[in-house]
Amino acid sequence: MLTSKDLSFQYPDGERFQFPDLSCGAGETRLLLGKSGSGKTTMLQLLAGLRRPASGDVIINGQSLGALSGTALDEFRGKHIGMIFQTAHFVRALTVAENLRLAQQLSGKAFAASRMYGLLEQLDLQHKANALPGKLSVGQQQRVAIARALINEPAVLFADEPTSALDDENTAQVVSLLTEQAKMVGATLLIVTHDNRLTSLIPQQTRL
């Protein structure tokens, strides 16, 4: 469950964005489309609580993000929000398995090896568990990022241009994995993109 109302944001340099209201149910997948510079990423960051809006509020699973502050917001994010970025980033000193484990622990949940290895297997990464992320291909890295975003079974999954660095084959695979996995954990999936390959795959769309 993800809803937003009257969201707006003001950059210090004066640029101001007003965003449309959103309301997504559990298990729903939606595209957030817009040209570059339209504020897509800014809206995603507001929705994920990475920035504070100038006005309006975001509600995830009944919790208003505006009412949370500091560490409480960080913890809420760790528990209920999964994020996937354009390029996958990891703690470079840790292996794939350790990165996933870290995500689990930072969210405050107990380490569940079965959940981790199950995910890795579904994403065809079981043989890469002990590899350093830097040694993986771009497509593999993006799949590990998906695994990391999903490992805590979040209420909302945000993906910021997850396919822009991938070829067609990997794009199709990543999108199907994302939608499938989001459904499996009952998460709302919001994909921010300007990638036209996705518009034909996902009918629910919001344009900025």
Binding site: L50, L106, S107
Partner: protein
Amino acid sequence: MNLLRLSWKNLTFKPLNALLSVLLFALSIGLISLLVSLRKQADEQFDNNLAGIDLVVGAKGSPLELTLNSMYHVGYATGNIQLGKVKAFFNPKHPIVEDVVPLSVGDSYKGYRIVGTQPKILDWYGASLGSGQLWQHDFEVVVGEEVARVHDLSLGATFKSNHGIIDEGEENNIEHDDDFTVVGILAPSGTVMDQLVLTTNQTYWHSHEGHDEAGDDEAEHHHQAHDHTADHAPASLLEEDPEREITSLLVRYRNASSFQALNFPRNINENTELLAANPAYEISEVRRQFDSGQRILGMLVLAITVVSALSIFIALFSSLRERRYELALLRTMGAGRGKLFLLIILEGIIVATIGYVLGLLLSHGILSVMAANISDDFRYSLSPWRLLPEEGWLLVAALGIGFLAAVIPAIQAANTDIAETLTEN
């Protein structure tokens, strides 16, 4: 995956970045620990051997040399003095002198000095017999604990002495002809007594006569007649020929703060052919020299410490620049600012801790190498692996420096702006 492990993984992922910091830190900790240990053990060595001695009397020369030779058995004697010139010191009714111990030095046994003296020196130094009995007759010896241990001497063992106080190797040694017999072994006392071979003053005269008149049959016979005979206890020194020589006297005052006692050394130095040295004064001179050397080294160490702290700071700071995205990522995964702060602080503290451990290994390693050399030259037995309470404080200081060096990078890490960093790309 707790924070400590994460910090450790981050550090070891690029170990070369942290290596310089660790080595510099180890160097500074090592030098501090070395200075503190040497100072502490030197002080103790000085203090343990003070033995309540108020004055050392010997032949004219350097008072420091006289003190070091007579009390610490280091360096050379200033010369010998005739018994006749110092008889007054033995007078039990002497108004200033309460008691006196005569010393005869100059010979050695395999690098350990043989000292002709009287058994009461053990009481002065707080040493006691571990086994056997005190030396009563000429050519009977009581050996210090270290001497017995190193040269495997047991009660009843016999050996020949070397002329001179330095072990010059088998070929260069001039041996005296007479056999010394071990009648007692001292218990360890932590004083210079551990490293001495004790016998009577008279033994020196006999062994040197024998040496001087080598080849003289009559003298040899004379020796055999009078050596090691139970009925021949040496006479009191006062009854000996006043022409006979000893090396020095250790003197205790009746009242060290009396006016006469304060003027006593100057009177001796100005009015007699003797040299009187005040050990407390001479030792404080040595300490003063030590102090000024230590001050210079201390400044050097301070400079190295500052540089090593800076190096930790710079290493963390530059690694943060590379890891900005990683830190932002940790925030999106639920790590609060406090955790990021702690993560970086822990990296500083890990570097400091490793540096501390390496530093202690370095300093005590150097000490153990020194201990082997120093014992022969300076009668100074170092305990190289003894840890001092100061070194506990050094750990606290090391952790403090690690913390301080990391605190600015850590604040920066805690203040990472997630949204800005993630959109930078």
